[in-house]
């Protein structure tokens, strides 16, 4: 029900969002993922109505809400927003904050809805307290309840967990997803944290420099990245040089690889200039392994070590291994390919 058709947003002469298109169905939760300055917050603000569009069309439920010539005011769009700093009104209690957008309703209806919202987010006892008396997590839930109370068509959340402790984040991400699904809300959130994005969203879009690289499920982003940026941004892995043998196989230092997926291919691809995505889980460290390698560094991750290894050619690869059987830095080991199906990206021959 949310349609962005090649929207562009600019601050003065600088284009911040370039021809971004995506579609979100009712009840879905989407996420815009990217580093700082990639244009994700600007896109969110444009959807909410705080920034005008320089080009493209924004539709909600088929109705044109914004375009280069049309701009519906934020208060008329019925879009709920949860801000990064929560923006709770300090002079109102939690209950009054939640009731803020319900002015058109009768007092009884308002009271009932506020109660409903408080129960939804689990803050029944916090109703008479002021924002400064609440913890960060509680404030965030009040902000969420406040935005959900007027039954908006769409929910927007700007880096909702960035102000909270890291340990809380993943748990809260699943809780908030649960709340949104129970309320039947359609939502888009914006974040730079991959784990948050994967925990919360049905569809994730990777942005860089105002451009949307891929809009897909988290699984697809991880296993079938559309270009090298997404491949390197999402998860861990290296891009190893490879040569295309025929339409289905590549040859690389790790042996023969099956071409499972490729990103956008240029018109005349150079067969010897392919790059294959090798993620750590694809390699097994095995003393009998056919591929010789040397361990350069290791990083302790709790359950496992992440090893950086150097192949004979000097190229680096990453591999996991359980941490109770550690290898030492500088040790010569063997590598075996666990998974021969890979993504590879072509480079232009021109």
């Amino acid at each position: 029900m949310l349609d962005l058709e090649t929207i562009s947003v600019a601050y003065g002469p600088a284009a911040v969002v370039r021809e971004l298109s995506l579609h979100l169905n009712r009840g879905e939760i989407g996420c815009l993922l990217g580093a700082s300055g990639c244009g994700k917050t600007t896109t969110l603000r444009a959807i909410a109505g705080f920034e005008p569009l320089q080009g493209g069309v924004l539709r909600l439920d088929g109705e044109v809400v914004a375009s280069a010539s049309v701009m519906l005011a934020p208060e008329a769009r019925r879009i709920g927003v949860v801000f990064q700093d929560y923006a709770l009104f300090p002079h109102l209690t939690a209950a009054e904050n939640i009731a803020f957008g319900l002015q058109k309703q009768s007092r009884a209806a308002r009271r009932d809805r506020v109660q409903e919202m408080l129960e939804l987010v689990g803050l029944e006892t916090a109703a008479p307290r002021f924002p400064h008396e609440l913890s960060g997590g509680q404030q965030q839930r009040v902000a969420l309840a406040r935005a959900l109370a007027p039954r908006p068509r769409l929910m927007l959340m700007d880096e909702p967990f960035s102000n909270l402790d890291v340990t809380l984040r993943e748990r809260l991400a699943t809780e908030v997803r649960h709340i949104l699904k129970r309320a039947g809300a359609t939502a888009i959130l914006v974040t730079h944290d991959q784990r948050e994005a994967f925990a919360m969203a049905d569809k994730v879009g990777v942005l860089t420099e105002g451009r949307l690289c891929q809009w897909d499920t988290p699984y697809a982003l991880y296993h079938h990245p559309a270009d090298t940026y997404v491949a390197e941004f999402v998860g861990e892995g290296v891009l190893l040089p490879a040569t295309l043998r025929n339409t289905t196989h590549l040859h690389s230092e790790l042996g023969t690889l099956e071409l499972a997926h490729t990103g956008s291919t240029p018109r005349r691809a150079d067969p010897s200039a392919y790059r294959a995505l090798i993620r750590p889980e694809a390699l097994l460290i095995d003393k009998d392994g056919p591929i010789p390698a040397r361990i350069l560094t290791r990083a302790f991750r709790g359950a496992e070590y992440l090893y950086t290894l150097q192949l004979r050619s000097g190229a680096h690869v990453l591999a996991h291994a359980a941490s109770y059987l550690p290898f030492e830095e500088g040790q010569e080991v063997g590598l075996r390919l666990r998974k021969t199906q890979v993504c590879a990206f072509a480079a232009s021959a021109d």
Partner: protein, 530 residues
């Protein structure tokens, strides 16, 4: 921006007198008035600079960095002299040390013929001392803030690099505090140049008294204006320096205060005595003397006339307070809604009045209004109203000058209150369905209320204490408490002057207490942190 025009017009008018001088007037001035006035002003500025730096910085260091008996009390008590206007301090100290005052009488009674007291009223040192005591709190306050919050991390870094705490203080904290100290100093110098009542008590001729005399005695408007223009130039230089220093202040949020240098032995008591001496002479003793004099005279003098003066003062202060607060609110709103360079400059210009001496503003407001009257009077007469003046000499002129002068004070409050409403709160309100007007009503007004109240209060007190503008622009016979003090001190009637003075000092204690309380909080922004 129209509000900026309000301030700009008088300033430009005054400056025009400098740019388009009238030779005969200048000749007269340069022969009879300027030499003495310039020498006096320069001496005064030099003396006050030295005095205020010595006193303000050293006291700030003692209370900020050291530990000695009474430190906690003196930390805030040393700011109290701000409640006593300079002209009150002047006449009280003169009264105490005067021939018929308590000290000389006591000496004469017990040790006749031993000590020949200098005549305090004609002593330049006395003027410098009084001004220093009246204005050192500006430097004290700013320097103390700087020492307490700036350079904490840098100090600790310096200590890890081998400097002792004292050396680190002088090599790190003091230089980092320089913008604050210089900022405080320029404020002091502006106040010194603007002062009228205190120098009048000592018959010490400076620009302000010369302007007043031209204005009143000779009704020589051009002479007054030309003197004012000279003063304006100096003031503008100071204002530029002060603004530049403001820009150089870097605010660090410090989470912990580094341990204090504990003074030992003779030094502890030296510090204690120094603080006690300054506190007593600048605040406690004058206050005590005022109370004693008031007790002597209140029975005869607390009559209907006195209450009329008080009422006039309160009325004027209230109107000016409301006017300044409303304009300041509009300025803050404009600054927020239109964050472009043109608006920023207009706002800067509009609040420039704080740097301009009252006497100069009085002249600068009067001239355009008198000019306006030349058009309005025939109009009024044509409509049937008689009289020679429509705007001249009415409350309107006074209010205009006062609002221009104190707009900056109100603006500081409204601006910081406005900034506490974050942009995302504004956006949140819009996303919940409120349009701009509803957002104003339901979000801005409630959150701005304390700031607006503070703005009103601060302007109220400042107008209550104000003397030159009131003196020069009031209609004949309409006196305020400050005017009354001037008239009485001109006749050396110290005790009678104590009655209106005590009222002003007690009211003046309110904002000082507010100031003391707000600066004692840690300087980290106490926002509702997410």
């Amino acid at each position: 921006m129209p509000i900026a025009l309000l301030t700009a017009i008088p300033l430009l008018v005054i400056l025009s007198y400098f740019l388009l001088p009238q030779p005969e007037v200048w000749k007269h001035l340069s022969e009879h008035v300027l030499p003495r006035v310039i020498v006096n002003t320069v001496t005064l500025l030099a003396g006050v600079t030295v005095g205020v730096l010595l006193l303000g910085v050293s006291l700030a260091w003692l209370t900020a960095a050291c530990e000695f008996p009474g430190r906690r009390f003196f930390s805030w008590a040393l700011m109290l002299p701000l409640a006593i206007p300079a002209y009150v301090l002047a006449f009280v100290l003169v009264g105490i040390l005067d021939f018929s005052g308590p000290i000389q009488s006591w000496i004469r009674d017990y040790y006749p013929g031993t000590v020949r007291f200098p005549n305090v009223r004609t002593s330049t040192w006395a003027v410098i001392t009084v001004m220093t005591l009246a204005f050192y709190p500006y430097v004290y306050l700013l320097a103390r803030n700087a020492f307490r919050t700036q350079g904490q991390r840098a100090m600790e870094a310096a200590q890890t690099l081998g400097l002792s705490r004292t050396r680190a203080f002088f090599k790190v904290s003091v230089p980092m505090a320089r913008p604050w100290i210089i900022g405080g100093l320029t404020l002091v110098l502006m106040e010194t140049l603007a002062d009228f009542g205190a120098v009048a008590v000592f018959n010490f001729d400076t620009f302000t008294t010369a302007i007043y005399k031209s204005w009143l005695g000779l009704f020589n408007l051009p002479a007054a204006a030309q003197l004012a223009s000279l003063l304006m130039l100096v003031v503008l230089v100071l204002a530029v320096i002060e603004q530049a220093q403001r820009g150089r202040r870097r605010y660090q949020v410090s989470y912990s205060a580094s341990p204090r240098i504990v003074l030992k032995g003779a030094r502890r008591w030296l510090a204690f005595c120094a603080c006690l001496a300054v506190f007593s002479i600048a605040f406690f003793i004058p206050l005590l003397q005022l109370v004693l004099w008031t007790l002597d005279v209140w029975k005869e003098n607390l009559d209907a006339r006195y209450w009329q003066f008080a009422w006039n003062s309160v009325q004027l202060a209230a109107f000016a307070g409301v006017g300044a607060t409303v304009l300041a609110l509009l300025l803050s709103w404009a600054k927020r809604r239109y964050p472009d360079t043109a608006t920023r400059w207009s706002v800067h210009l509009a609040i420039l009045g704080y740097a301009v001496p009252g006497a100069v503003l009085a002249v600068g407001v009067f001239i355009p209004i008198a000019w306006l009257d030349t058009y309005l009077v025939p109009l009024a007469n044509a409509v049937g109203l008689s009289g020679q003046q429509v705007l001249k000499g009415t409350l309107f002129t006074m209010l205009a000058a006062l609002i221009i002068r104190f707009l900056a004070v109100a603006f500081q409050s409204t601006d910081s209150a406005m900034q506490r409403v974050t942009r995302s709160q504004d956006d949140a309100s819009r996303s919940l369905g409120m349009n701009a007007r509803q957002t104003l009503r339901r979000i801005y007004i409630p959150l701005l209320r304390p700031g607006l109240l503070a703005a009103f209060l601060l302007v109220f007190v400042d107008v209550l204490k104000e003397m030159p503008i009131t003196l020069m622009t009031r209609s004949f016979g309409w006196d305020t408490l400050a005017v009354r003090i001037f008239q009485l001190t001109a006749e050396s009637m110290w005790e009678e002057a104590a009655l209106p003075a005590i009222f002003i000092v007690l009211v003046g204690l309110l904002p000082v207490m507010l100031l003391v309380r707000s600066t004692d909080q840690p300087l980290a922004h106490r926002h509702q942190a997410p």
